[in-house]
Amino acid sequence: MSHDVVPPRPGTATLPTEQPIRFIEPNGELAPGDAHGGFALPPIADLVDMHRRMSVARRFDTQVTALTRQGRLATYPSALGQEAAEIAASRALLPGDWLFPTYRDTIALLDRGVNAESILSFFRGDWHMAFDPYEHAVAPQSTPLATQALHAVGFATAATRRGEDTVCLAMLGDGASSEGDAHEAFNFASVWNAPVVFLIQNNQYAISTPTRRQFAARTLADRAVGYGMPGHYVDGNDAAAMLAVLRDAVAHARAGGGPTLVEAYTYRIESHTNSDDPTRYREDDERRSWQERDPIARLEKFLEAREAFGDEDRLRVQEESEHLAASTRDAMNATPELDPLEIFDHVYSAERTSLLEQRAFLEAELASAEPAIGSGGAR
């Protein structure tokens, strides 16, 4: 049986560019026009703002990694080296839009305005999530991989049906792209024409598994065409390219154009979390080669050459960074009093007899002179 020729449908897309879309070369110079993928360079003022936010985010990230090494946090997945993608994700959205992040996207949350301490209380081990998603239009950071991409599709679909122009941006890693939920999210979004942007940060390793053992496609952005949506392959260490492409994808979604898949080709400089040893799975040379492509240094050179950034700006950024680092240290060095009885709250909307009984049991145990309570969960 021969297949009929399928007529093109709205949203059907062509393959992404051969080379990653890029505006700023690793040496800070403007990339040739044919590397821009048809996108326009964002206004310089926006790039200055990106630079400041990326710098502050990096200082925050290194501070939290240090605190984790000191044992103040149970774990912390660093995004060092991925600031361009992380901050562009946050900057591409309007205030009413929603971000659906993973566990690694802490600095994107921070940039969205979520309070540092309430984000980090998750990693410190106080509570699973300590911020109200509705306050910042940020969904809980998802640890299961790619599951939150489906939540983003549902949220965006509901928004469309309610006549709201909310766009949802879901963040995934290269490892998450192998999960069934990623496929289902791409497919549902395209079939439902949902206003969603999928950002895959391909940082080369899923914990220790390199991308060559993760997928066989040329790029992850190539997958988009199979779902009937546009896909863009972007230099994830170029803040200008990330901002231009994500903004365009968000606008495309808001205008009713449906979802877009964006791959940020980047690198995780730090280990997956403090508990793995990257020397077992990658060479130092490789890491160094990526440090030479650093997103912040690159943008700084670009802006300096245009006299949009100078020593005064550098001082101001440093001041803001140190201020945040100090307040984060203070917050994480404090040991908040936790109420053990709160574990029984927020399980169901109504009281449940069995939980009230268990709560009373723990309460009595806490009140007794010699509580039969262990030293807590493993750290």
């Binding site: 549902g154 399980v347 169901y348």
Partner: protein
């Protein structure tokens, strides 16, 4: 909203009786009418009306913005429902068949059940997952599983299973109105059970068990598809001079210790009947809870009459697997009376 007043739309058969499938359909219809945020989606729930026709006519009468066919992907159905509920909707989704829900296990157990807890109450997920479950209809592999324990074991989920048309209507309405996620298990072998009913009907609250038949010698604890089995056993037992009380659990989570405890204190004997495998099955929880609380009123150990610990058998062999009234009575005969 006015709807076509055909007999089918009213959920009544030509004889004036309502099947459980029709009662469920009416509950969905009335919920769609009452609340514009209620939406229904899943595989084949649109124009086909679901493989069991529970959603018959709903897509036609409410349009494809309220009732629609989703891509064939269970994790996708649950995952997108979670996002919709986060944004103000009240999705009622269908898993089509019990074992088809397993691809959605992660979305159900890691997100649907936990989102309220991990956000300290900020995110409510008023979602009903309808699962046609259990056997007895000659279904092939993966179409007859009893999946209740996976859900009942998960904190954050409410698990209900009706056994008759009135409960089906009333409990589904209640489930849709609840601000928590509900696993709503529909015993598919009872979809065609009929009752004389004028809908809407208000049955007992869904979190309470119901004594569906009074007796003094033994309490049979059953739910969903095995309530009918228990009643049949009670009838047979009566012929032998045995007075059997039948309790329909209705709610698997929460567990109604009160109603069940009162019945056991009256009869001093109890047996649990379910289709699911015995090992680590729901009956183990029932037996343990009742033993812990009512040990001194028990005259005999609590029995479990269940499916065997084998994968659900093929259609021609399922009758050897399913608990029957005769097996229930034979089990009761093992006690010293």
């Amino acid at each position: 909203m006015s709807t076509p007043s055909t007999r089918a739309a009213e959920g009544r058969t030509a004889s004036g009786q309502v099947t459980m499938a029709a009662a469920l359909g009416q509950a969905l219809r009335h919920s769609l009418e009452d609340d514009p945020n209620v939406v229904i989606f899943g595989e084949d729930v649109g124009p086909l009306g679901g493989v069991f026709r529970v959603t018959d006519g709903l897509a036609r009468d409410f349009g494809d913005q309220r009732v629609w066919d989703s891509p064939l992907a269970e994790a996708g159905i649950v995952g997108t429902a979670i996002g919709m509920a986060m944004n103000g909707m009240r999705p009622v989704i269908e898993m089509q068949f019990d074992a088809f829900s397993y691809p959605a296990f992660e979305q159900i157990t890691s997100h649907l059940a936990k989102q309220r807890n991990r956000t300290r109450g900020a995110v409510r997920l008023p979602i009903v997952v309808r699962v046609p479950y259990a056997g007895g209809i000659g279904g092939v592999e993966h179409h007859s599983d009893s999946s209740e324990v996976y859900w009942a074991h998960t904190p954050g989920l409410t698990v209900m299973t009706p056994s008759n048309p009135a409960d089906a209507y009333s409990m589904l309405r209640e489930a849709i109105a609840l601000d928590d996620p509900v696993m709503f298990l529909e015993p598919k072998s009872r979809y065609w059970t009929k009752a004389d009913l004028d809908l809407p009907v208000q049955a007992a609250p869904s979190n309470r068990a119901a004594v569906v038949r009074e007796g003094t010698d033994v309490t049979l604890l059953a739910y969903g598809p095995t309530v009918a089995t228990a009643i049949e056993a009670a009838d047979l037992g009566a012929d032998e001079g045995l007075s059997v009380e039948v309790v329909d659990l209705r709610s698997l989570s929460p567990f109604d210790d009160e109603t069940i405890g009162a019945s056991v204190r009256k009869t001093n004997r109890a047996a649990v009947i379910h289709e699911a495998h015995q090992f680590c099955g729901y009956g183990a929880e029932v037996a343990a809870r009742v033993t812990e609380r009512e040990f001194f009123s028990l005259a005999a150990p609590i029995l479990r009459i269940t499916g065997f610990d084998v994968p659900y058998p093929s259609p021609k062999l399922e009758r050897y697997y399913l608990p029957t009234a005769e097996r229930v009575l034979a089990a009761l005969d093992t006690w010293e009376w």
